[in-house]
């Protein structure tokens, strides 16, 4: 750690909101996590079985946490919204997972991964958390290999690596284009083992609909059994929410259809602060929209930018087919604008650059809302077989959806919503502002700042689940007196009744529109005004439009069927209702953050050459929103961010 700065101390600042104390340890950055683990209380193995842990969600974070805590001896109950934990949306991650192993001997280190992640996030993440993430990265790979995750290998039998956006080293481990699938199946196998051993009570087809807080401490949730409609109560000593991101507020996104904000939003309304909701990631390489019926967008992995070159015709409205456009009339705009990172600039920059080109009338394809991702040169250099071996399944997926052959003609790509950096505010222990409620993975706000680098989501989900929470959970379980609370507690009955009433209210509106059609309309507003470029006036109009659409929903939605059986329309209506509240907060967060940083681009705040212009004096903080009751404006609290090691600078990828 030669690059490490000398020891510094970070005693909690007195002027920080009492609920937003980060609890980051002090001392040299590289020693903080070790020191913190030592300072945390331990719970002896015989006592662990006395504690009931409730995990909501079975993606990478939820499955990893459930399995690990059960292995340690805790009594774990895990709720899964799908019919099987293996279907969680982590399964769809394609490209890879970062780890600072430095196997390619290209100068990588834990410090460099930490540095790249803080910088990639445009200096809006908490340094201590990010360093811990980089530290855990290497152990994750060890764990996954031991589980039998079939990572790509070199001929000598060693693990292979590739490079990803925002980095100049090759630190990404991968399993063809299905890395998320293989990592999730690894975590799922660990979870399944504990279920088989009787140490996890797995409840599939359960949707968390509210959080139960007793005497200020999270003590369980109310869930709906999606197969029978029954409203169920789950009491516990600690609640872990691993419920993913809110990208579907845009309706069209690369998220799976069941991804939703309901669990985190309902926890927010019970007192968990929601941090930085306007930090959303628009992924640069997705298959463009083809029609009004479109139900979701499909990602083409960022790894494709290792070999694919992004370009548009130099001339506006060029209608020639790409093969007919000579080299001199092509603008490889990323290579031109960012010669040192080229096609591998971070996602926010690549997305915005694509929008710049289509706004300038240089878009391609029938809708003109696309740019080319061209493999011609890579195929000439390495041969079609080599490209097929690297990306075969992605090329196949592209061909199936578009009916075009990407080996012969360039892919058409366009940015689409992919990931959300914002989420419930958590401290260094991953605990929210509600004691006893911990938030893991994409559902929290912690590690990616205003922009997440590729191959870091899988890393964070697994770090939180396998290595962070098993240590930090003791801060709550051993640190607080937890009187026995069961499902018979009056608060459980009261919240269950509220959930039932809400369901009845949705079923009773009997209007004319499906929840899906209203969701689609919401998505349009959010994409147009809170998408890749935002303005004060656009955000104001978005807030008005969202409020009006919410009125329309509660007066004119139709939810057929009953609450007493499997009813997907009802499930969806509840989620859309929450998106309609959440979207307004997102707009307000974007409105109040009068700077550009990472994925949050306010047109009023840009450098002369169109890059994001941060305002570190006014906005070097996380905004954590506090719910004040129905119809009342939320309070914007802040957690100031200090950068002791990586000094904020304008990101430069040129």
């Amino acid at each position: 750690m030669a690059t490490q700065e000398a020891a510094t101390t970070t005693s909690p600042a007195q002027n920080v909101h009492p609920k937003l104390q980060s609890k980051s340890p002090s001392g040299p950055m590289a020693e903080r996590w070790t020191k913190h683990k030592f300072d945390l209380k331990l719970i002896n193995p015989a006592n662990r079985r006395k504690f009931k842990v409730l995990v909501v969600g079975t993606g990478l974070a939820g499955s990893a946490a459930s399995a690990t805590l059960a292995e340690m001896g805790y009594k774990v109950t895990t709720l899964c919204i799908h019919d099987s934990p293996r279907r969680a949306h982590s399964i769809a991650a394609q490209g890879g997972i970062n780890a600072a192993k430095n196997y390619p001997n290209d100068g990588d280190s834990i410090f460099r991964l930490f540095y790249d992640t803080v910088k990639g996030g445009d200096f809006r993440a908490r340094e201590s958390n990010v360093h811990r993430l980089a530290e855990c990265s290497t152990q994750i790979i060890d764990q996954c290999v031991a589980q039998g995750v079939p990572f790509a290998r070199e001929y000598g039998g060693l693990l292979a690596n590739r490079s990803f956006g925002g980095a100049q080293v090759s630190r990404t481990f991968y399993a063809r284009g299905q890395t998320g699938q293989q990592l999730l199946l690894g975590a799922y196998s660990a979870l399944s083992r504990q279920v088989g051993l009787g140490r996890i009570n797995l409840r599939p087809r359960r949707e968390m609909l509210d959080l139960v807080v007793v005497d200020g401490v999270a003590r369980g949730v109310i869930a709906r059994n999606l197969a029978t409609g029954e409203i169920e109560k789950y009491a516990a000593d600690v609640v872990l929410m691993c419920t993913g991101g809110y990208g579907n507020v845009f309706y069209l996104s690369t998220n799976a259809k069941n991804c939703n904000v309901t669990a985190t939003w309902r926890a927010h309304k019970r007192g968990a602060y929601f941090a930085n909701p306007c930090f959303t990631q628009i992924h640069p390489t997705c298959i463009p929209v083809s029609g009004h019926y479109q139900s979701k967008l499909t990602l083409m992995s960022e790894s494709l930018r290792n070999d694919g070159r992004v370009w548009v015709p130099s001339k506006m409205s060029d209608t020639r087919s790409p093969e007919q456009i000579p080299e001199t009339e092509r603008d490889y705009y990323l290579e031109r604008k960012y010669p040192s990172f080229g096609n591998l600039v971070p996602r926010d920059i690549a997305s915005r650059s694509a929008k710049e080109q289509t706004d300038a009338g240089k878009g391609v394809g029938s809708t003109k809302m696309a740019v080319f991702l061209d493999f011609r040169d890579a195929i000439t250099r390495d041969g079609e077989d080599a490209i097929r071996a690297r990306y075969g399944n992605l090329f196949q997926m592209y061909a199936r959806i578009t009916g075009e052959n990407p080996y012969k003609t360039p892919m058409r790509i366009y940015p689409a919503v992919h990931y959300t950096m914002g989420g419930l505010w958590v401290d260094y222990n991953l605990e929210s502002t509600i004691p006893g409620l911990f938030v893991l993975g994409e559902a929290n706000f912690s590690d990616h700042g205003a922009n997440r680098l590729g191959a870091s989501a899988l890393m964070q989900g697994l770090a939180d689940g396998y290595f962070v929470i098993p240590a930090t959970i003791a801060a709550h379980l051993a640190g607080r007196a937890l009187p026995a609370v069961t499902e018979d507690h009056p608060e459980f009955r009261a919240v269950a009744q509220q959930v039932t009433d809400r369901t009845q209210r949705l079923l009773g509106i009997k209007g004319k529109r499906s929840a899906d059609s209203i969701h689609r309309q919401l998505g349009n507003i959010v994409w147009n005004q809170i998408g890749m470029a935002r303005t004060a006036s656009g955000l104001q109009s978005a807030m008005r439009d969202i409020a009006a659409l919410r009125e329309e929903f509660w007066n004119n939605v139709n939810v057929p069927g009953s609450g007493a059986d499997l009813n997907q329309q009802l499930e969806n209506a509840g989620r859309v209702a929450d998106f309609l509240e959440f979207a307004e907060l997102t707009a307000r967060d974007a409105y109040e953050r009068e700077e550009s940083c990472g994925g949050h681009f306010r047109e009023e705040h840009q450098t002369p050459d169109g890059e994001a212009q941060r305002d570190d004096v006014k906005f070097q903080h996380a905004a954590a929103w506090e719910y004040n009751g129905e119809g009342k404006p939320e309070t914007r609290n802040i957690e100031p961010l200090t950068f002791e090691v990586v000094k904020p600078a304008q990101r430069n990828y040129k």
């Binding site: 399964i91 031991a146 039998g157 693990l159 057929p560 499997l566």
Partner: protein, 259 residues
């Protein structure tokens, strides 16, 4: 851009596991660029606006990896194309005027919950019986300490791609789950990490499969033809070898221990 097609869907409707189901005809105008599930979305939107109950069907990622979508289209699990899930099937694969019968995956071990939704939790219980390597978090050796020949890693990955959708069961005349089980057996059996529990795993997963009421394999290989991920039926031979070997040596090991 592309002209509209007219198709008729005959969709299985069934209120719940207890009641009998029936086919219900719906005329739909669709675009050739729509995915099959988007046709169901549009039809559901219409049903809801008419105050009728929507058709329940399972779906999630809509990019062929989560294994949620199912459906038997005109008698074929996941429809007419090889290596394609229903969510990735586009209407350009059909002709205007086509009649398409849409049914759930059918097997005794996959009871219908509603309309096109079936209960596939039997697959989870098979995994829970032994579809894993027993390694607690934190106890793993350094990742490159164990070398894995590239060919073995690639073959393991071929098998590990299974998405657990259950098309193999739906396509099999015996409703056997042998392809599903063999994919996991092959994935872990091809890697050094899977060796210590190889025999135990084969015995446990096969008995779990039998307990769940899946049928036996009689080499029709419809499973391999229906699999959207191209999982090879050669894995079934590997499963049989591992299982047989385990049965034989298990007895010997017991004898050695004086059982």
């Amino acid at each position: 851009m592309s002209e509209s097609m007219h198709i008729t869907l005959n969709v299985w409707r069934q209120k719940n596991a207890q009641e009998e189901g029936r086919l219900e005809a719906h005329a739909c105008d669709v675009s050739p660029d729509m995915s099959f599930l988007e046709v169901l979305d549009v039809l559901n939107d219409k049903l809801v606006s008419e105050g009728k109950e929507a058709i329940a069907f399972e779906h999630d990622c809509r990019e062929g990896i989560c294994g949620s979508c199912s459906l038997v289209l005109n008698g074929q699990a996941h429809g007419p194309h090889k290596n394609t899930t229903t969510c990735q099937l586009h209407m350009r694969s059909f002709k205007s005027g086509d009649n398409i019968t849409v049914e759930p995956f059918r097997a005794a071990a996959f009871p219908v919950l509603k309309d096109l939704v079936v209960d596939r939790s039997a697959f989870d219980r098979i995994q829970q019986s032994g579809g894993y390597v027993s390694v607690n978090t934190g106890s793993a050796p350094a990742a490159n300490a164990v070398l894995v020949p590239k060919d073995d890693a690639d073959s393991a990955m071929d098998a590990a791609q299974c998405i657990g959708c259950g098309a193999c069961v739906a396509a099999c005349p015996n409703a056997s789950a042998m392809l599903f089980v063999s994919a996991k057996i092959a994935h872990l059996g091809l890697l050094p990490q899977g060796q210590p529990e190889r025999k135990k795993r084969a015995l446990a997963m096969v008995s779990a499969m039998d307990r769940e009421g899946f049928g036996n394999c009689s080499n029709h290989f419809e499973c391999g033809a229906a699999c959207p991920k191209g999982i090879s039926v050669a894995n079934i031979a590997r499963l049989n070898r591992d299982w047989l070997g385990a049965v034989l040596t298990e007895r010997e090991e017991r004898k050695d221990q004086g059982d």
